[in-house]
Symmetry: C2
Subunit: 223 residues, 2 copies
């Protein structure tokens, strides 16, 4: 862990993490409503789309400002635009991809399928010398040793890890040592990182392997 | 919501959800250790790989049984095998894929990249008639109307949704009405479902869009 490193402020954030995690869901509901030509909505209507009470929705939305139409609900367009701004989704953030193999390709696909082009993959690297020089998405895969230079010159904020599990920790350490404190991890290994790093593990396995526990249990209970 | 529907038991599960979600992480650490030819480990060593205290790790592992070697730690192989069995990962579970487009292909890729072949995609469907008859992964994409028959004859337990956001709720309702209570959702919309349904939202957007909030905040604080 680098010493004397400035802490990022996400741990001191005013908005509770559980609220923050709901905001992208609101955004999607508002997109749906907009597609259906709905101009005005309210917490009761929003609640029909999710398992959250209208009172909680009103509370959540006060964090981003006061957009209520004097008891008549919210303007779908205004609320959507403000939510996007609040979440930083109106900007484009430069990322680096580490891992140019099959998982890297899946990661690139998934990132590029996002509607708002918030995450821009600026350069690709791989820890294996065999991969250097190959291409992913028209980008030349570079040697991981050259990562530092790219991070300095390209205003990179986010690292995307899509390596094999036994490279994850090493790659994550390199990113953190180069002051990348936001990491999206598609690999199956969850690296141990300093508290001030914001890590999102997106490997489907990590998420769905507890699902089969419940399936097994329900089968045992029947038998 | 179907009436008089038998509840699945995951809400009554003995193992707290937070513990269950850590078990796949232990499994990956054990895989790493096995690759490094490590035969015996202990809670202190496991704790070096994650942000959980050794005492909590020991407590977590008592849920799956008593595999301690009389104070000498755990056999990596025994613990790994028992964890896999406990999580239901030693079996293969039949799934259906709904959505044969670009997102469906990404979903298939990610599922097939999982090392343990726990999730088997048995059939593919699409809500759009234009997609019916096309192929994904050598499977013929079928009409969603024929889903019921497949679910009855192929012992399907899990539905994988990879449609566009405006089809998610409709497709999820069809799955639940056909007694599929385990849903893996790659689409960007989080459907509202009965409590007894176990839903895992895997859309990267839902997970990473709160990340940019923190980036925006840290930029504002600097400026």
């Amino acid at each position: 862990m680098p010493k004397g490193f400035p802490k990022t402020n996400f741990l001191n954030s005013d908005v509770p993490e559980v609220v923050l995690n709901r905001l992208p869901i609101y955004l999607r509901i508002l997109n749906q409503l907009q597609q259906q030509q709905v101009k005005v909505t309210n917490s009761k209507e929003l609640a029909t789309y999710m398992t959250v009470e209208p009172s909680q929705i009103r509370k959540d939305l006060t964090y981003i400002g006061r957009f209520g139409l004097n008891g008549k609900g919210y303007s779908v367009k205004t609320l959507k635009n403000n939510l996007q701004k609040f979440l930083g989704l109106d900007a484009s953030w430069n990322t680096v991809l580490i891992g140019g193999g099959r998982l890297g390709k899946s990661a690139v696909d998934l990132i590029n399928q996002q509607k708002n082009k918030t995450f821009r993959i600026a350069a690709a690297f791989d820890p294996s010398p065999n991969m250097v020089g190959k291409r992913i998405m028209r980008m030349r895969i570079q040697n991981l040793k050259d990562l530092e230079r790219t991070l300095k010159t390209r205003n990179i904020k986010i690292g995307i890890i899509a390596t094999s599990n036994n490279s994850t920790q090493v790659v994550a350490n390199i990113l953190v040592n180069n002051r990348i404190n936001y990491i999206i991890n598609f690999s199956g290994f969850s690296p141990k990182l300093p508290e001030y790093v914001l890590l999102k593990n997106l490997d489907p396995g990590l998420q769905v392997e507890s699902m089969t526990y419940h399936l097994r249990q329900s089968r045992l209970n029947k038998g």
